[in-house]
Structures are given as structure tokens and as C-alpha cells.
């Protein structure tokens, strides 16, 4: 249905957006890729840079600290997104029931999402405070602990505390997507299953969950991509510590760039992280495509 002028317009209309994206994302991406093959350093004085081939990559891939950071990021991502999935679906199921105050609770759920990431990090840092934190006080007064603990000062618990805080902010998205999907589950199907004698638990596993699996899958992959980039919350809550126990891949690259000023080497880490992200992004499109083609079922 396109005339010739309209075909020309196609590119004309796209051009401004493409120009901005090319300048702010595409060119830096190519530049980072180039940097990763050099020994460039950030410095006030112009220093000569050399092309050093794969040297940065060989170093990065054998660097145990970077590997640890990658695994930490993966751990953070899997646990955080997994919890968001479970809690998000559970809350969505709850919000799909009939009860007094349902509208209010549905509205309340959006609040954690609206809290800026940094405020979330700061708030939880205060809650986890070793001396005056609400968590310590509450657990102490309820009798769960006998002494105050340093929740984010302890390498054993710090990561889990970060995960809890991140999960609190991000479960609403999963819950809303799951709720929207739950509302499309045909009531007749559930009634039919109930008449056949299936227990509520059985009905959930064999009808409801498969029905909402498509959209749920898509939003979880999207959250995985986001979680894998985690930086802000770590920066504010723990600064990567204690003992590097919360140092994630993005934070690692950040330090390589801006603390150690090794841009060539940092770029090679960045390219590796970007590569992993790219794989996940392709996974997202695969999931989203299957979702839009296969419908809700």
C-alpha cells in the first residue's frame, strides 16, 4: 500500500532517531571494541597506544578475579530474578482473588517500582545498618537474633542482602505481567478442571501456570538482561565489598576504567560482558517472538 514518496519518507522519518542512536550507542560500541585490542590508558598526558591483538582478552579470560565477578553477577541475576518470578507470580495469584481492599493492594504494589533505584539502595542500606538498622532491631525484638549483625558488612550475607533489596524493587513488574496474564485464563477451563476433581494446587500447575508461561517467560528474560547489568545498587549499598563479595561484572569494568584507568583492558572486559548480554538479548527476542506467534496458550 506504499507509494514512492512514502517509501522515501520511511527513511526520512527514521533518520533523526537513527542518527542519535548511532552517535550515542553504535559508535561508542565500535570504539570500545577497538580499544579492547589496545593498551590505552586514561591519563592527563597524551600517551602512545599500541595495538596488542588479543593480549587483553587472554589476560581477561584467565583472570580469576574477573571470573569471580562474572559468577557473582550470574548468581545475583539467577537468584534475584528467580525470587522475583516466584514472589511475583504468588502475589499475582493473590491479587487475582476476590477480597476486600484488592484495588488498594493492586495500587500499592506499584510503589516499590516507582522508588528510584538509588533511593531503594539507600533505604535498604539504612535498614541493614549494623547499629541502628530496622532489620536488626526487628529481628532482635522478635527474638530471632540475640545480637545485632552487620548484614552488609559480612561477606557471607552481603550479596543476599543486595539481592533482597533488588528483588523488592523489581517484583512488581513481574507481578503485573503475571496478573495481566492470569486475567486471560479462561474461567471455564478452571471450572471444568474443578468439576473433574482437580485440586487447586493441581489446577494451578496444569492449567494456570502453562497458560501464563509465555508472557512470564518474556518478562523474566527481560529482567535477566537488566539484572545482569547490575551496578547502581551495588555502588551505593556496598561499593563492591566487603572483600569483593558483591563486586559484579559491571562494577569490575567500572573500576578497571575509572579507578585503575586501564581503558584498553577495561574495554576487553566490557566486550566480554556485552557478548554475554548479546546472547541473552537474542534469547529475549526468541522468547518474545514465540510469545507473539504462539499466543497466550
Amino acid at each position: 500500500m506504499l507509494g514512492r514518496r512514502q517509501l522515501r519518507e520511511k527513511w526520512f522519518l527514521l533518520a533523526p532517531a537513527m542518527a542519535v542512536l548511532a552517535l550515542i550507542t553504535l559508535m561508542p560500541l565500535a570504539n570500545t571494541f577497538w580499544l579492547s585490542f589496545t593498551d590505552t590508558r586514561i591519563s592527563a598526558l597524551p600517551t602512545p597506544t599500541h595495538f596488542i591483538g588479543l593480549e587483553n582478552y587472554i589476560y581477561a579470560l584467565t583472570d580469576p578475579d574477573f571470573q569471580d565477578a562474572l559468577f557473582r553477577t550470574l548468581y545475583f541475576t539467577v537468584v534475584s530474578v528467580g525470587l522475583e518470578g516466584v514472589i511475583g507470580v504468588a502475589i499475582a495469584v493473590l491479587l487475582n482473588q476476590q477480597f476486600k481492599g484488592r484495588t488498594l493492594l493492586r495500587a500499592l504494589i506499584i510503589l516499590p517500582w516507582a522508588v528510584p533505584t538509588i533511593v531503594n539502595a539507600v533505604a535498604w542500606r539504612l535498614i541493614y545498618h549494623p547499629d541502628y538498622g530496622a532489620l536488626n532491631s526487628m529481628l532482635y525484638q522478635l527474638g530471632f537474633i540475640s545480637d545485632y549483625r552487620s548484614w552488609i558488612g559480612d561477606p557471607m550475607t552481603a550479596m543476599h542482602m543486595v539481592i533482597l533489596a533488588d528483588m523488592w524493587k523489581n517484583f512488581p513488574l513481574v507481578a503485573y505481567v503475571a496478573l495481566a496474564a492470569l486475567q486471560t485464563v479462561p474461567g471455564d477451563l478452571l471450572k471444568a478442571a474443578a468439576v473433574e476433581g482437580a485440586s487447586p494446587w493441581k489446577r494451578f500447575w496444569s492449567i494456570t501456570l502453562p497458560w501464563i508461561a509465555g508472557p512470564l517467560m518474556v518478562v523474566m528474560v527481560l529482567r535477566t538482561i537488566e539484572a545482569f547489568r547490575v551496578f547502581d545498587i551495588v555502588y551505593v549499598m556496598t561499593g563492591g565489598g566487603p572483600a569483593d563479595s558483591t563486586k559484579t561484572a559491571s562494577f569490575y569494568v567500572y573500576q578497571e576504567y575509572f579507578n585503575y584507568l586501564r581503558s584498553g583492558s577495561g574495554a576487553s572486559y566490557a566486550v566480554l560482558v556485552a557478548g554475554i548480554s548479546a546472547v541473552m538479548i537474542l534469547g529475549y527476542y526468541a522468547a518474545a517472538r514465540r510469545q507473539s506467534q504462539g499466543g497466550a496458550a
Binding site: 500500500m1 506504499l2 507509494g3 514518496r5
Partner: protein, 371 residues
């Protein structure tokens, strides 16, 4: 030659990928004509209109409008206006701005614009609605606004894309009359797409019947109705449609003797004395005999033509107010006879039926082509 015609389409082809949706379309339309494109859904009539409008690029051929080659022109530069099936009014604008939009775009001064819009609104009897929004109008009023938007620019050619299909039955008849009235008062040249053959018959000065992207017949409503070029046109045009009975034709003494089998095993014999018997190429052959329901009546109907009378069994009787339709099984098909409303008949009865062969059509059994 194309400059006498308001619209002339030559050898137009349209392909979507491998699919040939319009095949070798040729149409020449005179100024002031009301040309109706009609056919079953999927026949390509809407695509053809879209090609004329320029919203769809054609694959090959040419389109001239008002004597100028517009084959590759933008819709806006074709000197045409279009009334869409969904009316396509701008929901955020008042009726006045909707009608005057084309003038606004062409930077016509506001005073002139207002005056023209007022004139058109007067013609369409919507002068009192000018400050309303489309959402506040009834279906018929929206239809009038859509026509107003087309009329106000006074283009060489108007295109109507199934404009009445969203209206209820009663309003459709009113608007049909309205469109006819506007055509008669303005003398506009109109190309009009519909799938409703009654609309086609009542509105058109000429009808183009399309099927599978091929023009079947172009002609006045009378030509299409009385001398359809093939069994498809005969069947598609007219309501109820033409009865197509299988039978045998024998040439005899310059006359044609027809034998039509009935379910009981007996044979209905009729004699056609008017048709030139050379229409039948052989002494004896199988043919499709086309008779309109009004050529099969009861003996009470005061037809001047005595016709030929034969007894038939009525399968079903359907009173329809002014007429009573009777279904009779003839020539391997359910034919419909149009009896007078007073005919006191019941299903299962055997009744004398008068056959009027003055407008009979003959078609080839295999190709369906008119003989």
C-alpha cells in the same frame, strides 16, 4: 482518445507477490457517469478502487483521470476525492473542519472555505451539525459528512468504497436515494464499489462486474440484467437471482424446443419462438436455460404475454409481502417463481405456472458463456 473520458484505465495489472489480483483491466468512463464496481468479496473491486485512488501502486498499465496520465501520481494530485467504508472522519475535528480539511490543506482562505463548507452542508442537510464532533453524530450523519468532505473540493472524480455497508438496512435505503439525488443534482462522476447488487442496479448508470480480478461484463443495469454475458453474472445480479436450469435444446423449424427434466421423471417442454435459433449451433445440445423469477408466474398475474403454461409442484412457498416466491425443482436445481401475493397456494400443491420466454438466456453448460 483518453481526453473524452473522465477515467480511462488501460491494461491494468496488479500483483501481490505471485498473486494476480487484477488481470488486464480496461475501463473507459464518461463524465457524469455513475460507474459501479460490483462482485463477490475477494473479486478485486476494492483493490481496483485503491489503484484508481493511488493508495495502491499498480504493477503495470495506465490510469488517466480527466485526460491526464495519473498512473504514478500521489493520491492528492489525482483530482479525486474518496468516501471510505468506515467514513474515516477525523475524530478530533469538528464537522466543519472535517469537511473543509482538503481546502485547509490547500490553503484556501478561511472566508471562502467557510462559505463552501456551508454550501455543501446545505446540500447534504447537515448545516446544523457543523460544530459537532464525529463521535456525536449518527451513522447516517457521519456518512453525509464523509460525502461533504469529498464534494467540497469539486474534484473530477469521486470514489466511494462500500459507503453504505456500515448502515442499518433502513438507513441504507435512505442514503442510497440521497447519493442518487446528489449525483443527479451535481452531475458528478462517481466510481462506486459495492458487493450489494441491488445498490449496483439502483445507482449505476453503468455496472462493471468483477470476478477473480477479471472484468466479466460492463454495461448498463438493463444490459447486465437482461443479457448477462455468462452464468456467473446471471447468477450474481438480480435478487432473487436468475434461475439456471439444465435442459436440452432442439432446433426445429426456426424455433427452439426446450426440454427440462423434473424430479418426478417427467419432462417440461417449452418452446422459444423469438430467439434466433442459430444461437444453438447444433441440432440438439445440453444447455443452461436462464429465466428470471418474474418470467415464471402464476396464471392469475395479469401478464400481457400469454406465455406457456405448465403444471409444476411447489416445494416451498415464501410469502414476501408484495410477491410470493415459490421454489420449484426444475432442471436439477431449485428455481424460484415469482407469484402474485394473492396467489392462494401451498407447498406440495401442483399449480399451473406461466413461463415467459421473451427474455430467456442460454449458456454453455461447461464454460457458462452466453450462447
Amino acid at each position: 482518445m483518453s481526453d473524452q473520458h473522465i477515467l480511462s484505465i488501460n491494461n491494468l495489472q496488479k500483483l501481490y507477490g505471485e498473486t494476480h489480483v487484477l488481470k488486464d483491466i480496461n475501463i473507459a468512463m464518461d463524465k457524469g457517469e455513475f460507474l459501479v464496481l460490483v462482485g463477490p468479496s475477494g473479486c478485486g473491486k476494492s483493490t481496483l478502487l485503491s489503484c484508481i485512488s493511488g493508495l495502491t501502486e499498480i504493477s503495470s498499465g495506465s490510469i488517466h483521470i480527466a485526460g491526464k496520465d495519473r498512473t504514478h501520481c500521489e493520491p492528492a494530485d489525482r483530482d479525486i476525492a474518496m468516501v471510505f467504508q468506515s467514513y474515516a472522519l477525523f475524530p478530533n475535528m469538528s464537522v466543519e473542519r472535517n469537511i473543509g480539511f482538503g481546502l485547509e490543506v490547500r490553503k484556501v482562505p478561511e472566508a471562502i472555505r467557510k462559505q463552501k463548507v456551508a454550501e455543501v452542508a446545505e446540500l447534504l442537510k447537515i448545516g446544523h451539525l457543523l460544530h459537532r464532533r464525529p463521535a456525536e453524530l449518527s451513522g447516517g450523519q457521519r456518512q453525509r459528512v464523509a460525502m461533504g468532505r469529498a464534494l467540497v473540493r469539486d474534484p473530477a472524480l469521486f470514489l466511494f468504497d462500500e459507503p453504505l455497508s456500515n448502515l442499518d438496512a433502513k438507513l441504507r435505503v435512505t442514503m442510497r436515494t440521497e447519493i442518487k439525488r446528489i449525483h443527479q443534482t451535481t452531475g458528478a462522476s462517481i466510481v462506486y464499489v459495492t458487493h450489494d447488487q441491488i445498490e449496483a442496479m439502483t445507482l449505476a448508470t453503468r455496472i462493471v462486474v468483477l470476478r477473480d480480478g477479471i472484468i466479466q461484463q460492463i454495461g448498463t443495469p438493463q444490459e447486465i440484467y437482461n443479457t448477462p454475458v455468462n452464468a456467473f453474472v446471471a447468477d450474481f445480479m438480480g435478487s432473487p437471482s436468475m434461475n439456471l436450469m439444465r435442459g436440452t435444446a432442439v432446433r426445429q423449424d426456426g424455433k427452439i424446443r426446450l426440454s427440462i427434466p423434473t424430479p418426478g421423471g417427467s419432462v417440461l417442454e417449452l418452446e422459444d419462438m423469438r430467439t434466433d435459433s442459430s444461437a444453438i449451433s447444433e441440432e440438439k445440445r445440453d444447455i443452461l436455460i436462464g429465466l428470471r423469477p418474474e418470467a415464471m408466474t402464476d396464471t392469475l398475474s395479469g401478464s400481457r404475454d400469454p406465455g406457456q403454461i405448465a403444471d409444476c409442484i411447489l416445494d416451498v412457498v415464501e410469502p414476501a409481502g408484495a410477491d410470493t416466491y415459490a421454489v420449484i425443482n426444475l432442471g436439477g436445481t431449485e428455481t424460484i417463481a415469482r407469484l402474485s401475493a394473492d396467489a392462494n397456494v401451498q407447498a406440495g400443491q401442483t399449480v399451473p405456472i406461466r413461463f415467459d420466454l421473451s427474455k430467456v438466456s442460454y449458456f454453455d453448460v461447461d464454460s457458462g458463456a452466453r450462447l
